[in-house]
Subunit: 261 residues, 2 copies
């Protein structure tokens, strides 16, 4: 009995659920289970590996956390399909400097000017200490805070919160949400105020999304997000700041160029 492997002995070496996960991972990476195709169902895996359903589900949970597998209720689990990667280049800012209608978002996604939608929400708020620090200003300084959700062909791709100092934009067309999306983007807005952008500084972090982001951006389980904090400079003055530009990491690649010559 049990000449090959004595099934019921629970924890000897590597846990059973890890062994199951290892085997399924091997099959996916080796191409035996092609991307996008269904894995065996839970009952099939129970029969194949001779373990209980809880153990199978634990193994699948591990693979979900690694981003290799996606599960859909009532349908099954399938190998995560390869997603198109969007490149956000650092010279997109340079392109935005040209006098076109393009914005950095449309450049990134290679979109026609009309192919995207923008949800926005404007508020006038006093700066928290964290944001005030970005501007190099006193906490409580009034800001125009703008929350955006960008969609390409209806699919949400990016959410962000961007702020202008209120004294810069109050009473101008820039402060009117009805004028979004603004042809030429932020740079054109600032230019309409007589301000020329000279420098961008971005801080990049990665983390797991909070539940709100999972819902808004439709992020599959086990996918991290890239969170960018951006400061826009005109000379030494910070004229715009964005906290947590959130991008799903499975669809995004950032590119930066550092010129040393």
């Amino acid at each position: 009995m049990g000449t090959l492997i004595d099934v019921p002995s629970p924890p000897r070496g590597r846990p059973r659920y890890r062994q199951v996960a290892d085997e399924l991972r091997r099959r996916i990476l080796a191409g035996a289970i092609p991307a996008g195709s269904l894995l065996p169902t839970e009952p099939q895996l129970i029969a194949e590996f001779g373990v209980s359903r809880g153990t199978i589900r634990e193994a699948l949970g591990l693979l979900r956390a690694e981003g290799l597998v996606v599960t859909e209720h009532g349908r099954g689990s399938y190998a995560r399909p390869i997603l198109p990667v969007t490149r956000r280049g650092s010279d997109r800012y340079r392109q935005e400097m040209e006098l076109t209608r393009a914005t950095s978002f449309t450049v990134d996604h290679d979109l026609d000017w009309s192919a995207y939608q923008l949800d926005r929400e404007f508020r006038e708020v006093p700066a928290s200490s964290a944001i005030a620090e970005l501007f190099g200003a006193e906490p409580g300084t009034m800001l125009l805070e703008r929350r955006f959700v960008f969609r390409a062909y209806g699919v949400p791709q990016q959410m962000s919160t961007s702020s202008y100092p209120l004294d810069l934009v109050a009473g101008t067309p820039v402060a009117d949400p009805a004028n979004e999306p603004w042809p030429g983007g932020n740079f054109a807005q600032l230019r309409s105020l007589g301000i020329t952008v000279t420098r961008i500084v971005e801080k990049i972090r990665a983390r797991m999304p909070v539940p709100e982001e999972v819902q808004t951006l439709r992020i599959p389980g086990g996918t991290p997000v890239l969170a960018i904090t951006r400061r826009t400079f005109a000379g030494d003055r910070v004229v715009e700041a964005a906290v947590d530009i959130v991008l799903p990491a499975d669809r995004t690649e950032l590119e930066y160029e550092v010129d040393l010559s």
Copy 2:
């Protein structure tokens, strides 16, 4: 009985394990459970919420996946302590250009030259098609492939694989692992070969770590990694390429500056 909430009815609205996770998340974010301190034990949570252990463990698993909680066998679960963040700036490359002993790694970590260790492993390999593309060369071109693990004060902080075209370095001191760590880093190595670096291009992605990375970098559960692909240019020629410079995202922040003036 069960006037407040009828406990045994399983799936009504939000699943019980999510309710438990929500409540624990609230306590952590509100500071009721300070970072670094222990959560109630599983038996205590079972008593408090009146659910089975499996449900409690599922809730804790959710919080682990969100990166809010870390569990240690035999000790308990505690709110994830805040970790010091390392800033990797784009001007670190400019600093490395100066004629000092500093490397980009020591600049990032504000380390003394002697305070870090470097595990390395050199091989001569033909370029895969993916790496050949980075160099703009034919697949099969011979490369000197160097695998590194960087440690600061003994703690692994970064792992990477960097390659030079073999015809550039064969027979030179650069190809000898015994000369690592090389004072002044990659740039100084290239300079010793008469090559001046003019440009760096980096692509940044975020993803969940593979098991090998979890082990090597001691990454806690639910933490993504930043993966950087770097190309080093001398004029139009790519003289070095690094695939997947892997950095744990809970300890790392990248900074890039784009000059538009």
